[in-house]
Symmetry: C2
Subunit: 310 residues, 2 copies
Amino acid sequence: MRTLLAFAAFTLAAPAIAQEADEPATPTSVVAAASAEEWLAIAPEDLLVMELAPDAAGNPRRVVIQLMPREFSWPWVANIRWLAREHWWDGTSVNRVQDNYVTQWGDVTEARRTPVDSPDAPYWSLTGHLTGPHSATLIERVLDLQLETDTYAAAAGFWSGWPIAGDNRGKQWPIHCYGYVGVGRGYAPDTGTGADLYTIIGQPQRHMDRNLAVVGRIIEGMEHMSSLPRGSGDLGFYTDEEAHLRTEIVSVRLASEVENAPRFEYLDTRSATFTRYVAVRANRNDDFYTMPAGGVDVCSVQVPVRRVGE
Amino acid sequence: MRTLLAFAAFTLAAPAIAQEADEPATPTSVVAAASAEEWLAIAPEDLLVMELAPDAAGNPRRVVIQLMPREFSWPWVANIRWLAREHWWDGTSVNRVQDNYVTQWGDVTEARRTPVDSPDAPYWSLTGHLTGPHSATLIERVLDLQLETDTYAAAAGFWSGWPIAGDNRGKQWPIHCYGYVGVGRGYAPDTGTGADLYTIIGQPQRHMDRNLAVVGRIIEGMEHMSSLPRGSGDLGFYTDEEAHLRTEIVSVRLASEVENAPRFEYLDTRSATFTRYVAVRANRNDDFYTMPAGGVDVCSVQVPVRRVGE
């Protein structure tokens, strides 16, 4: 069993804290106690609002996607912003739902002209690209908060509100977690424009990291993507006979172009509350959980995101 | 970046093998090449067949669950066999679907008498309980195949076809992966009989390991559990207004009591093919993936299961 290095001191102190408060700390109670300054606004131009056709009962289905900061996958994110401004996705559809893998959407006819090119760019960033107080070459000094172990990388943790992995040679890359959005492509690595997108609906298959571009994550309405009927064709694509199962995408817009768009904020990954939140996630010990794990997977730590004012 | 210790030699040899075959190895191609003796039959008395009410289009929905071997969670599995023989679940329902967490089923009225008691048993096994050629006290010598790293335990790997974690003091326990089935309970650890069951429908939250009893896994029909509409009540339970969303469970039977029940087999986790399968999963390097991860999460290695004769 392993412990999170960064939290050893905290973990030992936790029972005392819990005793004072008379209730054991849970991830929910820790986040609820965050101060207002620990929440950071998400810019409307970093949000995509995707309206799906209403469900069978007539209920609206809105999905909100937060785009990656420019340090990662920026050529694809730039394409995606362009396609949203062009209203390119309007009238396209969800075409593939493969259980325990991905839901994928775009132009099923493949006939629609794509007014952007496929970037020939790497799926990782070099340390020099990260902005802010980070200037070191080792990821230990780049991440806001590093977890002790990661099966897929020398290091993994959080930076600017995102789960990031890295090696010891100055490369960092974004991680595929549940609800994260990436760029579909053909066999050659430089064949994805951003017009064809997917989101993870099961156990993340992190061998996709550094092989596909992670461009964002769904922060509201994920259930509309994960609960769709699975396709029975190869790779979970809907067959011609299942064409009626394709969900229509009515529109995709940048939130900055949507009237009364909801506003969101995320918990600062440099904050004391976020550090405590991760520690409590790694050592659940409360009214229900009595055997702390002593560690937590980077994808099992969802970065808290909420609507502004809630 | 880490590599799988056990596969270092194999990994180096892989390009040559691939060159000979003229096509790069993929997990699918490796499993397809397994010999007949590497597939082991699953006994019909280790399978539960759950029939859900047909979907809105009238399609049947059958879910097949493989039960854990007796070395783990056996008091709960014994209860489950008993409840199936009693036809206890007939007419119960799926009552909770929480996105990225669990789908849960049982008697929503809580009025049905449960003819079994809640076992007061541990959520792990001691080494002495494992059968077969395993007699050492360290998990390294107990598992059929051990992965190099695990965030949640000193060791993790596979034993008798199941993902198992362990510490260095002789304890092993089953792991919560996508599609795995566990026993719902109240706050006290000894309050779950096995009448209320859940399955994981998102990123596995492995802090549930050793806090809840893992009793099996869904080997067919998982899509019927994962694509259900999410509940809007607390913890994803359907509210009273959503009562119509509850999916009826028509029957649950041991396969040994079902006429023409399908038969299944799994890939022996002691086999050379399984070892190669895990190595290829950890180092995807083929027509699509060009940047091998160098590691793989225990839950990202689905133990291959297939119908007999396929």
